[in-house]
Structure formats: structure tokens, C-alpha cells
């Protein structure tokens, strides 16, 4: 288990070990969507907004 700080609210997030760059995770405190920018050490940033043509 590793930790990182929410880019939106500053809360500390517990992160799984199999974290991937580019992965999207939700902040349990503020609900923000966060993107994993780096894994070692973990760095999180606000995830880009979903756009209209995103998804299957």
C-alpha cells in the first residue's frame, strides 16, 4: 500500500500496489477523478474531463 495526496482536496489516498500510469482513480473524500501521473513515487493530478466521443 502506498499513499498520495489528492490534487483537488489534499486528502491522503491509500493506493493499490498495482498502480498504473494513466489510471483513473476516485478520491474518496471529495469525489474528484484523479489521473496517476507517476507511480514511483505516486503522483496524482486532476483527470481530464470526459468528452463527447469518449467511450465505446
Amino acid at each position: 500500500m502506498t499513499e498520495a495526496e489528492c490534487a483537488e482536496c489534499g486528502a491522503t489516498l491509500d493506493l493499490a500496489d498495482d498502480l498504473e500510469t494513466g489510471e483513473i482513480i476516485d478520491c474518496g473524500t471529495c469525489g474528484a477523478e484523479l489521473e496517476v501521473i507517476d507511480v514511483n513515487p505516486p503522483v496524482l493530478d486532476r483527470a481530464p474531463e470526459l468528452e463527447e466521443d469518449w467511450g465505446e
Binding site: G22, E23, I24, E35, A47, G55
Partner: protein, 290 residues
């Protein structure tokens, strides 16, 4: 094998694929398409030694262009840009299915509000209005009356960007509260499930209930034909039951499979990676002959 994964978001689906690939000892190169340029004579993306590239771009526009460029560098890419182009556009998708003789809902495309209104009135109510691009069932409208049709067409014409100026009108298919999603590799089903909902949209993304589904011979044949119709690849084929038969609504090219993996007994990522290995082997065999 050396495998590239094109992405801009790693979802559960991509994580499942990545861990299966790594467990088998494959060399995975993750390519974040946001960070690279794709030129006429090459790219900053590390694609040179790859046996196959899997396109997992969420954004249709990125998927369409990145796959086109990567193919031009002589690197095999799944799904192919041809498949992406047909699947990314509901009108092209419908045409491809109809031309291949696959039963698909009756569909009309119109370019003005007035003409779309005529199409809607000809279908009668309810009927369905969809954007030609878009995903997860967003911005789809079930139209129950002429006044609803007028309001929706007015909103689309005023607020939508140009893709919403193409009106895609479809008959409403009365289905038994569920539709069928089949994941297939070049027409070969990996697994299938039903998605049920009280709501007329039954997408798993919209919270429908899922259950494993056994395909009969007719469904198997339709999945194969639908896959061929769009050029094959790793696809999600959406069918609906129409009494004693099926109709194929659409074929998806950046298919999500996490819900399917949790619903059926099939190890979905393992089956997909088996197929990717066969794709890479085809390339190696072709090179040996050259």
C-alpha cells in the same frame, strides 16, 4: 512478443489486459497518445520493434488518427483504422451491417430539422434519435410524441456541434427488457451476456443488470457476419431479441469487457491475449516469408 498499448486513460479493462500480458512475460510498451506526434515519415511514439499495437484510446478521434498513422509505419494495429472508421460512426455502422445482410433496425439519416421531422413522423412513435458519434448511450433520445420530437430537434440544432446536425433516426425495437452484448475476436465469440434494465437504455455503463448468455447458432452466425461487415477485430457486438430472431444494433470497436469478465465464467483477458498472440504470430510468419 513486443506489444504496444495505445491509451489515454487506463481503465479496469486496460489493467486486466496489462496484467495478463505481463504475467505471460510479454514486453508491453504503454503509449500515451497525448504525449506523442504522428508524422508522415515517423512518430515520436516507440513503435519500431512492436509486433502488434492494441488501440485502447477512449477518444474516437484519437483512435481514428493514431491507428491510421501507426498502420502507415508498417506496424500491425488492432483494431484496424478501417474497422474503427466504420464502428465510430453509427450511420456507417448501420450501412455496413445492412450491406452484409445482417438484420439491423430500420434507420434514416437526415440533415435538417424539417427532414428529420419527416423521418420521425414516418417511423411513428416511439422512435429513437441518436448522435452519429458518441458513446455509452449518451444523448440518445426515445421520442414518444411530435411535441417531444420538435423540442429535441430544436435543442440539437441550437446547442449541438456539427456532428449533431446529422440526424440519425431509428425504429424503436420492442425487446424483452434486455439486450445482448457479445465480445468477439474476428467473429469468434469470447463471451456473451445480457444487460437488463427497466430503462430503455440497457448499457452496463448506465447500471443495467448483467447475466451470462448462451449464444444459439443463429446468434453465432450473426456475430460472425457483423464482425466481417466492419472488417473484424476485437469487437463488441450488440444484439437484441426480436421474438424468434435477433437484430444487430451496432458493433463497438473500443470495447469494454470488465463487466463481461465479472459476469461469465470465461477468463476474458486471457482469451483476448490468446488472440493478440495469434495476431503477433501472423506478423512474424509474414516476415519470414518476405
Amino acid at each position: 512478443m513486443q506489444i504496444g498499448l495505445l491509451y489515454s486513460r487506463i481503465r479496469k479493462d486496460e489493467k486486466l489486459l496489462l496484467s495478463e500480458l505481463r504475467e505471460r512475460g510479454h514486453d508491453v510498451t504503454k503509449i500515451d497518445v497525448r504525449k506523442h506526434q504522428f508524422g508522415l515519415d515517423g512518430t515520436t511514439a516507440p513503435v519500431d520493434d512492436l509486433d502488434v499495437v492494441v488501440d485502447r484510446c477512449l477518444a474516437t478521434s484519437r483512435s481514428l488518427y493514431a491507428t491510421r498513422f501507426i498502420e502507415s509505419y508498417g506496424v500491425p494495429v488492432v483494431n484496424s483504422p478501417e474497422t474503427a472508421e466504420i464502428c465510430a460512426d453509427k450511420a456507417k455502422n448501420s450501412l455496413a451491417l445492412a450491406e452484409a445482410g445482417v438484420p439491423t433496425p430500420e434507420t434514416k439519416v437526415a440533415f435538417t430539422k424539417e427532414s428529420a421531422m419527416e423521418a420521425i413522423e414516418a417511423f411513428g412513435y416511439p422512435c429513437v434519435l441518436k448522435p452519429v458519434v458518441g458513446s455509452w448511450g449518451r444523448l440518445m433520445a426515445k421520442i414518444d410524441s411530435r411535441s417531444a420530437a420538435e423540442a429535441i430537434l430544436e435543442h440539437k440544432a441550437t446547442l449541438g456541434h456539427y456532428e449533431h446536425k446529422v440526424f440519425y433516426v431509428q425504429e424503436f425495437v420492442e425487446k424483452p427488457g434486455r439486450d445482448i452484448r457479445v465480445l468477439a475476436t474476428d467473429g469468434e465469440p469470447v463471451a456473451a451476456m445480457t444487460r437488463s434494465s427497466e430503462h430503455w437504455l440497457t448499457n452496463a455503463a448506465k447500471g443495467g443488470e448483467t447475466e451470462a448468455f448462451e449464444l444459439d447458432d443463429e446468434a453465432l452466425e450473426l456475430v460472425e457476419k457483423a464482425s466481417d461487415a466492419v472488417g473484424g477485430g476485437l469487437l463488441g457486438v450488440d444484439l437484441m431479441e426480436t421474438g424468434d430472431s435477433y437484430t444487430v444494433h451496432e458493433v463497438n470497436h473500443t470495447v469494454e469487457f470488465k463487466a463481461l469478465n465479472g459476469t461469465t465464467d470465461v477468463d476474458v483477458p486471457a482469451t483476448v491475449v490468446d488472440w493478440l498472440e495469434s495476431k503477433a504470430a501472423e506478423k512474424t510468419a509474414a516476415e519470414a516469408l518476405a
